[in-house]
Amino acid sequence: MSRSLMRYVLAGCAAIAVAGCAGNSRADAGTYRDDLARAEASIVEAQQLGAAERGSVDLSRAREKLDAARRASEEGDKNGAQRLAIEADLDADVAAATARNQEMQFAATELRESIRTLQDELRRNEQRRLGRL
């Protein structure tokens, strides 16, 4: 193989490598930015469900990780930013699921208490009636 042919081959390989890398970086950038956006939306959703008022540790963790993901992104660590954004998104989802569960548990407890109150009231009425006879 002549030296000039070798140069062409190497130049072609380099061009392919550069194109490949450029494509990858765009794809990665899109993905990690999507993950950051998803984490932001999940945090807002968890807040709307009252996770902050309930002092959710998961929501605090999600916020901290989102901040860390943004810092990693600014420093050019796209993989780190993506991992942190994914974790922030999931932490916020846990906070939201916990808030929904707590609300349902609260409703179930309230209903149980109202049934107990109703039963007590009916029992007292019955005793009062029997006392009058």
Binding site: D91, A97, N101, Q105, A108, L111, L122
Partner: protein, 145 residues
């Protein structure tokens, strides 16, 4: 001189190899995720309300196991295990919520049953009272005279 450089390079190479293979025998977070998913799958409501989340947890566990088998960085394996744990936690919350919803529905039925019983008793008492003739004060007074 050359032999020193060779020895240095060899030592560096060994250090790199050791660094790459210095994974622990087991990754605790991965074990915990596995155990958590197995436990949650036993719940009768799991497939109804948390099928997607449990599938995502299983997928993350598989990815963590794959990364472990390929001797990936511990950071990557732990990230995948964390993802699995979080999906498992979401599943747990959804399953608990579903149980509470069931209790709520049963509670409402119970309350309606109690109210219905109370109404029936009241109506029975009213019927009994209506069936008993009330004493007529005028006639009894006349009879005494």
């Amino acid at each position: 001189m050359e032999s020193r450089v060779r020895a240095g390079l060899l030592a560096s190479g060994l250090a790199v190899i050791c660094g790459c293979t210095s994974l622990p025998d087991r990754v605790d977070s991965l074990e915990q995720a596995r155990a958590q998913v197995l436990r949650l799958e036993q719940d009768r409501l799991a497939s109804e309300v948390a099928a997607a989340e449990l599938a995502a947890a299983r997928e993350a566990i598989a990815q963590a196991e794959d990364a472990f088998a390929k001797k990936a960085r511990l950071e990557i394996i732990e990230h995948k295990a964390y993802v699995a744990q979080r999906y498992a936690e979401i599943s747990k919350q959804r399953i608990r919520e579903a149980h509470a919803r069931e209790q709520l529905a049963e509670g409402e039925l119970e309350r309606n049953r109690i109210l219905m019983q109370a109404r029936e008793r009241k109506s029975e008492r009213a019927d009994l009272q209506a069936a008993q003739p009330e004493p007529e004060p005028e006639r009894t007074a006349a009879a005494r005279q």
